[in-house]
């Protein structure tokens, strides 16, 4: 469980996160939606400890993450762009990350097998296409069966078959009492994969509830249209002010 309270972050003059409060619970999967530059990636990086908030606290399973790195044993992260050392082999990447984790009891190599990465473990990273690198990133994120999964644009750059494999994997895993945080600009994907929506705009969370409630409120059947309705409504409100 992740509890974020009163988190502020600014980069120079730009206020990226404005007093964010949020709770992400086990057993639920959250879609992080928002326009470009709304603070999604910054919020994710705050949870991962890559960006340090100016004020506020973030708790993971009851412990503050400030100056602590052990909580990352619970976290699997798939970055938006995965770049790896050029001359490293696929197999070495997996070996290295496995070396770094203490808890080796629940290794999950399903994705490695389904993406056929085990047959190319001698390939060097610089010879791989962007999609294959994404497959490596995805397999790494799932490798340790983490309680908390953070996926930043997981389906971007993957071919349709790989997208389906990854989606099936997410759907299979999300029922196992985990927390999923997924950002994406592909609403149909999120509609399938997630149960809750966190809508960010200009560094504020404007909506954080179930997808069903959002659809009900806006009277739309599809998540994409429901979000568009909210965005338009906010635009009108800000014009009125």
């Amino acid at each position: 469980m992740i509890i974020i309270s009163a988190v502020n972050k600014r980069f120079g003059k730009l206020e990226v996160l404005k007093s964010i409060y949020a709770e992400f619970n086990h057993g639920k999967s959250y879609a992080m939606i928002g326009p470009n530059g709304s603070g999604k990636t910054t919020l994710i990086k705050c949870i991962l400890g890559m960006v340090l908030p100016d004020s506020g606290t973030i708790n993971v399973n009851g412990k503050s993450i400030a100056n602590d790195w052990s909580y990352r044993n619970l976290v699997g992260y798939m970055p938006q762009i995965g770049r790896y050392p050029d001359q490293m082999k696929i197999g070495q990447i997996f070996d290295m990350i496995r070396d770094l984790r203490q808890d080796q009891s629940h290794i999950d190599e399903d994705l490695i097998k389904e993406f056929n990465l085990d047959h190319m473990s001698d390939k060097r990273m610089h010879t791989l296409s962007g999609g294959t690198r994404q497959k490596v990133s995805a397999s790494l994120a799932f490798l340790f069966n983490p309680r908390i999964m953070i996926l930043d644009e997981p389906t971007a750059g993957l071919d349709p078959i790989a997208v389906e494999i990854l989606k099936e994997k997410i759907i299979a895993e999300k029922n196992k009492d985990r927390t999923f945080l997924i950002t994406s600009h592909i609403m149909s994907d999120l509609d399938e994969l997630t149960s809750n929506v966190v809508y960010l705009e200009e560094g504020k969370i404007l909506f954080n509830d179930t997808i069903d409630l959002l659809k009900e409120e806006t009277g739309e059947i599809k998540l994409g249209r429901a979000i568009a309705t909210i965005m338009k409504r906010n635009l009108k409100e800000s014009e009125r002010v």
Binding site: M50, R72, P79, I81, Q87, Q92, I97, L100, R101
Partner: protein, 255 residues
Amino acid sequence: MMKIAKYVSYDILRNRFIALYTLFLLMVTFSMFSLDSDPGKATLSLLNIVLLVVPLVSIVFTTIHFYNSYEFIELLLAQPVSRKTIYFAEYFSISIALSTAYIIGVAIPMLFLNFSESSLYLIMAGLLLTFVFVALAFGASVATRDKAKAIGIALLFWFYFTLIYDGLILYVIYSFSDYPLDKVTLALVSLNPIDLARIIILLKLDLSALMGYTGAFYKNFFGSSLGVIYSVLFLFVWTLAPLLLAMRKFVRKDI
């Protein structure tokens, strides 16, 4: 830390640039010793090249490598390891790779071509300079998010220590030549790692007269062995100070 360093240094050692650097050093070493029949003079010529090339390659390669592995560092940060571990792993990986190139390119051939005390000191000076300039490059890389700016800062460091600083020292000595400047010059030399490295070898080669005023004074002040210890000590300070300052910044940096 060593777990990460093992994989990362392997990756850097396979880098084509490191191979070219090794080859270049090999060529220079062999040509210096085949062109000059006097091994002392050959060592001196080699020293001048080492003092220019080693800092330049170390600082530029490290800066570029740091920025190229930015996304990889990000991935490591998502793993259960502390930032300090990642930082030192990166530092050791790059230092190991560049030192290996230097050992293959300069140290091993020198041991065969001209095994002498001054050769050993040249080898040590080159290695120490590698450590110093890799650390300085980390300082430059951590200072800014912009790769071009960081390479600019790195090059500025190099220009400063190889060219500008000498000019400044000359200017100071020239304009205050009426005063006793012995100790001032000594302090000024300690502020430049490249000068410190040069002194180590010049003292050993017994060519300190070539360094003019400072060299003669330095020799007089320390005798040769104490001078070497002093220089080496200060080169360690030059490694640790930027390395630790940059680490403090890296630990608090937004990646």
